[in-house]
Assembly symmetry: C2
Homo-oligomer: 326 residues x 2
């Protein structure tokens, strides 16, 4: 087992490579005919996301036996850029004011600019993804279709207290798990890995993606505002995340009615009330256990491929992501 310091350094090295490639990609376009669009979209792209998607994609490529990471970089960047495109558009209809520590694009530049900047980022992502073989290109497009479908299902369930765990999984799989699975799958395909390795890494991505989104949803309820992520935005937006769905199922009588009332008439003053109800329903424990289950399944999927340094780093990244605070 490597020490935490060196784990972190290894992962940071991959993150830096992504950052550098993104920076170069942006600079190239700032010098060309797309400069007006890139001036708008470049800031948010370089505003320092945590780059889980591209890093996991590069590690999956290495774990699948790939040797020249420049082969997977376009796919890795495509995943990050398309993710950023969805963030820009999400922020519009979630009416979010801050993203990655900066004012959201629609706040600083207005709705039309934010819509177009997102569209431009989609085009950039597709352009990069499109530099690969047909099956990878199709998978990128398919993942985008699934993201849109997941987002729509999420909208349909806004404020709907009857949302089921199945609905939740369908949303998470579309928005997050399938995209994670797609960049891992694509990385393995680009590494020309055998079919079993491709499937194992795809499954890994799916399970890691589910765990990743559930941690996100949990942090929305438990995160410390001081860590940079505003707390409770999902509740304000009426998004039915798993802790809420679980508590609505487990509580009965007066408590169930109180929870429904809190969710339907939420304000920051009712934060403690909500937390107490979720604790009473043991919803935090339940979701924490489910996250661990998905992480375990992700680890099991990795077990089926040969042990390499990259595979070890994937394990570490999953654990880092699981215990993240923002």
């Amino acid at each position: 087992m490597v020490s935490v310091g060196s784990i972190s350094a290894e992962i940071d090295r991959h993150r830096d490579a992504v950052e550098e490639a993104l920076e170069e990609f942006v600079q190239q376009r700032l010098a060309g005919s797309e400069a007006p669009a890139m001036r708008l979209a470049g800031d948010i792209l370089l505003a320092g996301g945590k780059r889980y998607r591209p890093v996991i994609s590069i590690l999956a490529y290495e774990a699948a036996g790939g040797v020249d990471t420049s082969e997977v970089m376009n796919l890795a960047l495509a995943g990050e850029i398309i993710h950023t495109a969805t963030l820009v558009h999400d922020d519009i209809y979630d009416q979010s004011k801050v993203r990655r520590g900066k004012p959201t694009l629609h706040t600083s530049s207005g709705l039309p600019h934010a819509i177009i900047a997102g569209d431009y980022l989609f085009a950039l992502g597709f352009g990069l993804g499109g530099r690969h073989e047909d099956q990878v290109v199709e998978r990128v497009a398919q993942a985008c279709g699934r993201i849109a479908t997941g987002e729509l299902q999420q909208l349909e369930h806004i404020g709907n207290l009857a949302t089921t765990p199945e609905d939740y999984y369908s949303i998470v799989d579309g928005k997050t798990a399938f995209p994670f699975a797609s960049v891992c799958w694509g990385a393995a395909v680009l590494a020309k890995a055998p079919e079993e390795t491709v499937s194992a890494l795809e499954l890994f991505g799916m399970e890691f993606g589910r765990a990743f989104q559930m941690v996100d949803d949990l942090l929305d309820l438990t995160g410390e505002p001081s860590m940079g992520k505003p707390r409770g935005t999902d509740v304000h937006d009426g998004k039915m995340t798993l802790p809420l769905i679980h508590a609505l199922t487990m509580l009965h009588g007066v408590e169930r009615e109180q929870l429904a009332d809190v969710l339907q008439n939420f304000s920051n003053e009712r934060w403690e009330e909500l937390t107490e109800l979720l604790n009473a329903a043991e919803s935090f424990d339940y979701v924490t256990q489910l996250i661990e289950n998905h992480v375990e399944r992700a680890m099991d999927a990795l077990e089926s491929i040969p042990r390499t340094k990259a595979r070890d780093l994937m394990v570490d990244l999953v654990r880092i992501s699981q215990s993240r605070r923002d």
Copy 2:
């Protein structure tokens, strides 16, 4: 020369083939996991656009010597679907209420749904465009980047009476001419045409696209509301189209001041005043002449490739488009 009836029938046959392929494409997705997204996006896609982009792409493929039109259909549909995606998003920030005779998506389903539906259409278009060879895929992505850039430039010039003809051309080239050029270029590449033919068809698309957009902009000022297209929306939106730019340059003194006032404080009551000023500046004649110039250049480009039935139909389609009323 064929009779107008049979020209129209030949072009209609191509349009019907596009319509049928689009219909099948939508139906397939209504049956799969993307059904929620396609239920939202399918209506606008099948709401009967005039399909200039896909039809010209198929004709360009045939004129370039292609024999199996199924080879170009994905590119042709990609062009139409991406165009529809931009319309859905444009309608949001132009605050348009009606499109293709139906309520716009954001009017009927709300802003979030319209943003996501547009994103989904982009993903579909890229997925189709992505089924082609690398250079075509890259060109599709590049065209989307140019569309975004053109839209942004248009936004930057909203209400700006100092907008120059160069600004106007830069906007039109990004939004319309380059996408037209791209589907013609791509069609010729797919037909494995020689380099000169590819370049000739690309140039044709560029010039046709310019003429096409200028007709659109002219119709906004001269169209009869009874033809289905609401009149004056560009003026209401503050979009600086070429007739306005020309008139602002040609008029002086009191008339120039009056025109500036009309544009800055436009209402439907000032319609006649605006028309008189544009007539005084001979702006309609000027733009009509420019359209004819671009059409002539498009025709010249076609002259350099062998005469075929498809080439004749392209000539006819350009003329039909030039004299369209809506």
